[in-house]
């Protein structure tokens, strides 16, 4: 990006009224692989594209369970994500131990925002390099939030972060009005369609590179990966991409 004299540390404003270090941190999120979140009146679904560094390597996990009613998808520096998810888990536990109730979503998200903001104002610190999509179900219903390294957080009906996430947003913007009443399968189908739009040219969604997180009224946060994905991948719309989206490579050559 820009190499100028106002981007060396966090406590320097640019003449345009920007803090470049924070913007550079937001870049780190944009470099991570895509994650999509969307919610209905009963469920919140997170979908993520897992990357692997090579054929021999495993795929990087993108979804983390925080509590029975709360889970996150990450994009960016995974080590920073670990620190934040440990913090969230501690807060979730404290809420259960002290008050005997599941942690309300708004307050954990604003606690993360407060934590992230500290690093944007104190000299010598660096912002967290990870963006979160927080999915949770509490007494006031299902919620989806995005948390950014800048300390900003916002609630959404549907949102996507990471590489090529704009394509997913375009899909979500087109269909979001039908999410509220959608069934769980419908919601996952929309999510997978949106996630597929973030793929590069000849790539496909398969059981290895995809990860789905679901939480809802009667549904504890669970992560669906590997073989269990087959059922959901079969929900994908059959588009010009051919039959590779069915989830399994065709055995016979036709």
């Amino acid at each position: 990006m820009f190499r100028n004299q106002y981007d060396n540390d966090i406590s320097t404003w640019s003449p345009q009224g920007r803090i470049h270090q924070v913007e550079y941190a937001l870049e780190a999120v944009k470099q991570g692989s895509a994650a999509v979140g969307l919610r209905s009146n009963t469920h919140v679904v997170l979908l993520a594209l897992k990357r692997s560094s090579g054929e021999l390597a495993s795929y990087q996990k993108k979804l983390t369970i925080i509590d029975d009613h709360l889970g996150i998808a990450i994009a960016g520096l995974t080590s920073d994500a670990r620190v934040l998810s440990n913090f969230m888990r501690t807060e979730a536990m404290k809420s259960k131990v002290i008050y005997g109730r599941p942690l309300p979503i708004f307050r954990i998200v604003s606690a993360i925002g407060d934590k992230a903001q500290v690093n944007t104002q104190n000299y010598g610190r660096r912002p967290y390099g990870v963006g979160l999509l927080v999915a949770g179900y509490d007494e006031t219903g299902p919620h989806l939030y995005e948390c950014a390294p800048s300390g900003n957080f916002f609630e959404y009906y549907a949102m996507s972060i990471g590489a090529r996430s704009q394509s997913a947003k375009t899909y979500l913007e087109r269909y979001y009005e039908s999410f509220a009443e959608a069934s769980l399968d419908e919601l996952v189908r929309h999510g997978l369609n949106a996630l597929r739009d973030t793929l590069q040219q000849d790539k496909e969604l398969n059981m290895d590179n995809c990860s789905i997180g679901i939480v809802g009224a009667d549904c504890k946060f669970k992560i669906v990966e590997g073989d269990e994905l087959k059922r959901y991948l079969s929900l994908l719309d059959n588009v010009e991409m051919g039959d590779t989206v069915q989830g399994q490579a065709p055995m016979d050559t036709e």
């Binding site: 440990n86 008050y99 005997g100 109730r101 309300p104 307050r107 606690a111 500290v118 509490d138 006031t140």
Partner: protein, 255 residues
């Protein structure tokens, strides 16, 4: 997280706020300080029994208006039933200054919730859980809040009744009584309530309460015939003005 600290297992020395977000500058106490260390006290100004029961519309609590100074009936207008939020009442027996501190803690918690303003409100079960953590924590520091509390409320469509004391002992029941009430009133309450929580009418509940308060005034030498009754239902909290029950003392008069 400090994975390699050689102080693992010992209290950490970092000065941060409760959520490990901000650094807090507090003067640490040195090993050689000569400040007094607070230890187990004795209760000074005290309240006697609190009684409570569940009935068909919710729960009811009662406590007299006396704060004793040992054997002296010192303060006769003390309110030992305290509303916390719209659907919970705390009844306190034991040291009154510790009760005042607890009231302050609970108010602070409710104010914090209010300012977060996210649609969540602390209900009776949450206040019960919070209080029990505070009480047990103080007991573990050998510096207890010398009280026995009754937490009564209405939450998720039904009545809630719990007990928390200076040892951190907790339990939930459809009838609760502290102090002398545990010996004198509990048997009466149990007879009336147990098995009939959902069919007991308001009138029968008031009757049971007044019988118990009468017995307590007759037999508890640190009680007063002036008390208040609290009712918590789906409509919220209602605490009566102080009133008395009729008692029969003619047997003690003259020859």
């Amino acid at each position: 997280m400090d994975h390699f600290s050689f102080n693992l297992g010992k209290p950490r020395h970092e000065m941060t706020d409760r959520r490990n977000i901000f650094q807090v500058d507090i003067k640490p106490r040195s090993e050689s300080s000569t400040d007094p260390i607070t230890r187990t006290q004795r209760p000074i100004v005290t309240g006697t029994s609190v009684i409570a029961l569940k009935y068909q519309d919710g729960v009811m609590l009662a406590a007299d208006n006396l704060a004793s100074y040992g054997s002296l009936a010192r303060f006769k207008d003390v309110e030992r039933l305290y509303p916390v939020g719209e659907f919970t009442v705390i009844g306190a027996s034991g040291d009154i200054s510790d009760f005042q501190y607890t009231k302050h803690l609970l108010d602070a918690e409710m104010v914090k919730e209010y300012y977060i303003n996210d649609g969540h409100v602390l209900g009776a079960p949450h206040i019960y859980e919070y209080l029990s953590r505070v009480m047990y924590n103080r007991r573990s520091q050998i510096n207890p809040l010398w009280n026995a509390y009754v937490v009564g409320g209405y939450h998720n469509g039904e009545g809630f009744l719990g007990y928390v004391d200076l040892l951190g002992t907790t339990y939930k029941s459809s009838s609760i009584a502290t102090g002398f009430g545990a010996y004198l009133a509990q048997p009466i309450l149990r007879k009336v309530v147990e098995g009939h929580e959902n069919t007991l009418s308001e009138e029968e509940a008031i009757n049971a309460i007044e019988t118990c308060m009468k017995v307590l005034f007759y037999r508890d030498a640190r009680s007063l015939n002036k008390f208040q009754r609290a009712k918590i239902t789906a409509q919220g909290v209602e605490i009566t003005q102080p009133y008395s029950v009729d008692t029969e003392w003619s047997f003690a008069e003259g020859q």
